[in-house]
């Protein structure tokens, strides 16, 4: 079944990057959803020879270059469902996979015993953690309940609470706007809500 598939290096649109990207995205989708071997063979036919030239320059050795191509293209086959066209083009995704493979190969060759791998540094092949929508219900407090107490919050906590509960922004939007990490927004929200709760209880 596999034997008959030849390398299809010529695509209709090889010249234009945008058309090529659209075509490759579509093919990756077919690999992800149906494990379509025809589609994969086209992707392989386009990228494998290019990756080999690139890897040969980077590694300076034919055997290592082919190893890099094989590992990269294996990831493309096995993890096509992790490709997200909204985040970048297929060639960018495949380039970043190749960069990761090369990073780990070079460290292995140098025999460095480092407990850091490319998956830590560039988590492109990891599923994004679903955001467990931030603050749990029992931590939430309505603004009417809070009234004046709101003004007793430290400025930074109040700014975050205002943006989320009054302006209705998401925690990510607040993080981007204030140029602070998302984790900081979360912890400020938690601290602020906790403080408000404590104040409410003290008021009872």
């Amino acid at each position: 079944m596999l034997v008959g598939i030849s390398l299809e290096n010529k695509l209709q649109n090889t010249g234009k990057p945008k058309d090529c990207a659209d075509e490759m995205s579509q093919l990756l989708l077919e690999v992800a959803s149906q494990r379509c071997k025809r589609s994969y063979a086209k992707i392989f036919g386009y990228f494998a020879p290019r990756l080999r030239s690139y890897a040969l320059k980077q590694m300076g050795n034919e055997a290592l270059a082919m190893e890099m191509v094989q590992d990269t293209m294996t990831n493309v086959w096995q993890k096509a469902h992790l490709f997200n066209a909204e985040k970048g083009s297929p060639s960018t995704w495949i380039f970043t996979i190749a960069r990761n493979i090369r990073f780990d190969m070079l460290r292995k060759l140098k025999n460095r015993k480092e407990d850091i791998c490319s998956d830590d540094l560039w988590p492109i092949l990891c599923e994004q953690t679903p955001d467990q929508n931030e603050v749990s219900l029992d931590e939430q407090v309505t603004l009417e309940q809070v009234g004046q107490l709101f003004n007793n919050l430290p400025d930074k906590q109040r700014a975050v609470i205002e943006a989320i509960y009054i302006d209705g922004k998401s925690q990510q939007e607040v993080a981007d706007e204030l140029a602070i990490p998302l984790g900081t927004v979360k912890s400020r929200t938690r601290l602020a809500l906790q403080r408000l709760k404590d104040m409410l209880e003290a008021n009872d």
Binding site: Q78, D120, E127, P181
Partner: protein, 220 residues
């Protein structure tokens, strides 16, 4: 707000993968919380990948590739499952940690009380460097020191100052033998940082100098 970012050169080296593991880890952790730098890295990735597109590849059939293709397509599809992000716990407080550092939370040994109001939890990175999560309570201070090598720091949560500047969550800091500083936190919530050094610190003032012979034990 985040004021201290990696240089454009460091971001370029990070995107290329031509960078030490330790520096890459701290740059990566910064980019995870700094959308501005993440966008820069995405742009660099796109530029770098256009190089691959522009390679003029041979169109001849190659038996080595035919063989490779067939063997790859026999491999099973890999299902990846999202993992719940682990958080750091210290004294009943929980801290969110940038994604690249999350795997190391599990490796974090018990917190030990260092000097005064400073806590340390070592992280084993093997040969990549000597890493710690360090927590300064309000009023906590690391004695004044300089660096025999390079000290990389990411502010995970909170604020601190070191006599050279004031830092906030997400800030990326590189210090070497040209810098003498004494990190301390006056923030009511204290400050949690992640730091990697390649050589022990060198304490420069007062009684802390007595620590030097043992500095490989502290803040290693």
């Amino acid at each position: 707000m985040i004021n201290y970012h990696p240089t454009d050169k460091q971001l370029q080296q990070f995107a290329e993968g031509n960078i030490s593991s330790a520096l890459a880890l701290v740059v990566s952790a910064h980019c995870d919380v700094c959308s501005q730098c993440q966008e820069k890295v995405d742009d660099i990735n796109a530029k770098l990948s256009s190089v691959i597109e522009n390679i003029h590849a041979h169109e001849d059939k190659d038996p080595a590739f035919e063989k490779m293709l067939a063997s790859i397509m026999q491999m099973p599809i890999v299902d990846t499952k999202p993992v719940v992000a682990p958080r750091i716990e210290l004294d009943g407080r929980f801290f969110d940690v940038p994604r690249p550092l999350q795997r190391f939370v599990k490796h974090t040994g018990n917190w030990s009380h260092l000097l005064g109001k400073v806590w340390q939890a070592p992280v084993d990175l093997g040969d990549a460097g000597i890493a710690n999560f360090i927590y300064m309570e309000k009023g906590g201070r690391v004695p004044e020191h300089t660096h025999r090598g390079t000290e990389l720091t990411l502010v995970v949560d909170g604020e601190f100052s070191d006599g050279l500047a004031d830092y906030d969550s997400g800030d990326f800091i590189v210090m070497d033998n040209e810098h003498i500083h004494s990190p301390h936190s006056n923030a009511s919530e204290g400050c949690l940082v992640f730091s990697i050094v390649d050589k022990p610190l060198h304490f420069t003032s007062g009684i802390a100098r007595l620590l030097n012979p043992f500095s490989h034990l502290f803040f290693k």
